[in-house]
Amino acid sequence: MKPSANTTLLAYTFLAPALILLTVFTFYPMLYGAYLGFTEYGGMRFAQGLAPKFIGLDNFRTLAGDDLFWTGIKNSLRYLLVVPVLQLASLAVAVLVNKQIPGIAFFRGAYYIPVVTSISLAAVMWEWVYNKDGTLNWLLERLHIIGAGQGPSWLGNEATALYAVMFVTFWRGFGYYMVLYLAGLQSIPAELEEAATLDGATPWQLFWKITVPMMRPTILLCSLLSTIAALRSLEEIVVLTNGGPLNSTYTSLMYVYNKAFQGFNFDYGMASAAGLVVAAFGLILSFLNFRFFRDNGAQS
């Protein structure tokens, strides 16, 4: 049945407030930001009240020749390694905390604490862990894995810094994804698992044949969210290493951030152009996530 004109009008009336807010605070800034990528718009033009000057692809040409930007892109792609580890670990722990055992609420809450811990506080704590005289080296010395005073400065070493920061991302994101997976697990109808158990399925088969296929939409959502978050990682890096040592933790978003917010020398044009390239990588990776999880889901 075709909706009446009044119903349509009512629907649009209800949609309008959200649409107006989205237009003002999301669509317009996004489109304007994309446009700035093709303009020259730095501190000088801004202070003089001049409009952005259209310069075509010049910013992208500059980016193509900027080694620092490509170092950032490479590090951002390496940062994606955290995604599968984070997803597997949070799914596995979600399965564990889904059991109704005494005191399980404590564990669910405990795993979530890092999500709500401020990054400044977390940074101080992880500094203590990663310092040359820090907790991690103390532990490794006690376990006789390294000799006294032989431990590295984990954040000051080119080989370890990125992984050290990635672990902080893992620690911060783990509880969040675990809660999403937990919600997904609790929405699986109990009768499906009961039927499979009656048919003689082992716990392993139950997990792979029932739980994982039923969880595919949640896995897709979590994988997508964590891929985008990894590509946009910035906070941990700024507070722990500021991109060093030797730019080994310098990510693409740090490049965007530095261009946009380097005081009065800011360059919105270059920052937007770099942001567009990072967004393009994000789109490609999102597409791959959809292909991988949605298609497989359809087959199962």
Binding site: F46, K132, S153, L246
Partner: protein, 424 residues
């Protein structure tokens, strides 16, 4: 007729004056509001700032000051406020940020806003630190000296067999080796690559090695520059400088490690002593203060804060009056008595406060440097696009420290980058 005309004129004049009355009343009841942004001064100095603002308002009944303390987001907030048409009237910026803001056209030149007598009340060098293209953009406020004083732990020096404090930077490096070998503590934490600056350029400058040639091109890759950098590389590779010095601000790291007996000496202002006193009272009691070693050029360097007036301010005249009041000798001296800053007004050099004798480390250090405001000088001019150039320079210094490049290669690469990308 004449009488009628006179009466009409009188009535007209009366009606005019009556209609003007509410406007005059409104003007009297709504003084000009000047917005003032300080930087990282609240809550510690709330009392000082509020008292000084009250004194200004009492002396200038037509002006009200609305004060905010900005911290991490100062510059970004400044830019946003200009965009929104609500720019502050007086802003507290440091030398580098003032230069960047002035070069990009954000600030009003002070010529014409304050008298020559006001400008002449500051030492010439601190005043010129805030000048750009022949105009002044900031009234110098409080400052500090990079070399300042040598704060040291006599016990650690004694254990290392050092009987007198180092007088040159070479002696300082020797002392660092002896102290680390004998006690396990580091001698001092030199600034290798502090954020938002190019620390090693400071050491070049202190040794009289040029940063720019006559044509304005970068020239810090001569054999003398390389030799000096090499000394620091060897010190770092030998384990005589903490690894974290490549990652954290040296002064902060040094002060923190000093308070834990892990560093024997600090070169800098008395502000380090305040932190030591707050963190380790026993160590503070035995801490001594002496003359800091200078580079071969025997010059002091330093930094400072200014009060600037944004071009977008709607009350530039009143803003400049307030900036001049905040930075005058009386108010800078009041501030200096609360916290060991270095005043930038000429009159401060004769203040009896800086001539007092005391055995307390902070008082002693304050007396040694408080009247030295004339030496506040960053030493070299920041390039136009300093953020990009300093990053490249620091990346190269780090690569040299970590053995990825030779000292020569690192400085050559950086000079090439600077000369290809430098904006005046």
């Amino acid at each position: 007729m004449t009488s009628l005309k006179r009466n009409l004129t009188l009535a007209f004049a009366l009606s005019l004056s009556l209609s003007a009355l509410p406007a005059a009343q409104a003007q009297a009841s709504s003084p000009v509001e000047v917005t003032f942004w300080s930087w990282y001064l609240s809550p510690k100095f709330d009392g000082y700032l509020k008292d000084t603002i009250s004194a200004f308002e009492a002396a200038n009944p037509g002006i009200k000051v609305k004060w905010f303390d900005k911290q991490d987001s100062m510059v970004q907030d400044f830019i946003s406020s200009v965009n929104l048409g609500s720019a502050p009237d007086v802003v507290n910026l440091n030398i580098d940020e003032t230069a960047k803001a002035a070069q990009n056209g954000f600030l009003a030149p002070l010529e014409g806003l304050v008298s020559r007598a006001v400008l002449n009340s500051y030492y010439p060098q601190p005043l010129s630190n805030f000048a750009s293209l022949g105009q002044h953009y900031g009234l110098p406020w409080y400052g500090w000296l990079n070399e300042g004083v040598l704060v040291y732990n006599p016990d650690l020096l004694k254990k290392a067999g050092i009987n007198s404090i180092p007088k040159t930077m070479d002696e300082m490096m020797d002392a660092a080796r002896k102290i680390k070998t004998a006690t396990g503590a580091y001698g001092w934490v030199p600034a290798l690559k502090d954020p938002n600056t190019a620390s090693m350029l400071g050491y070049f400058n202190a040794d009289g090695l040029g940063i720019y040639g006559a044509d304005g091109k970068a020239v810090f890759n001569s054999s003398a520059h390389v030799a000096l950098l090499q000394k620091y590389i060897e010190l770092f590779k030998g384990g005589f400088i903490p690894e974290d010095a490549l990652r954290r601000e040296a002064f902060q790291l040094g002060t923190e490690m000093y308070a834990q007996n892990k560093v024997a000496m600090i070169i800098g202002g008395p502000q380090a002593l305040t932190r030591i006193r707050d963190n380790n009272k026993d160590l503070y009691a035995k801490t001594a203060v002496g003359v800091a070693p200078l580079g071969k050029a025997k010059i002091q360097t330093g930094g400072g804060m200014a009060l600037v007036v944004p071009k977008a301010s709607k009350h530039t005249k009143e803003a400049a009056m307030f900036a001049a009041f905040m930075t005058n000798n009386t108010n800078q001296m009041t501030f200096a008595k609360m916290v060991p800053i270095v005043p930038t007004t000429k009159a401060a050099q004769n203040d009896p406060f800086f001539k007092q004798k005391s055995s307390d480390a902070i008082s002693k250090a304050t007396s040694m440097i408080g009247a030295q405001g004339r030496f506040i000088n960053p030493g070299y001019r920041a390039p136009g696009n300093s953020d990009d150039l300093y990053k490249n320079f620091n990346d190269n210094i780090e690569a040299a420290m970590l053995g990825k490049k030779t000292a020569q290669q690192a400085l050559d690469d950086s000079v090439a980058f600077w000369n290809a990308n430098m904006k005046k």
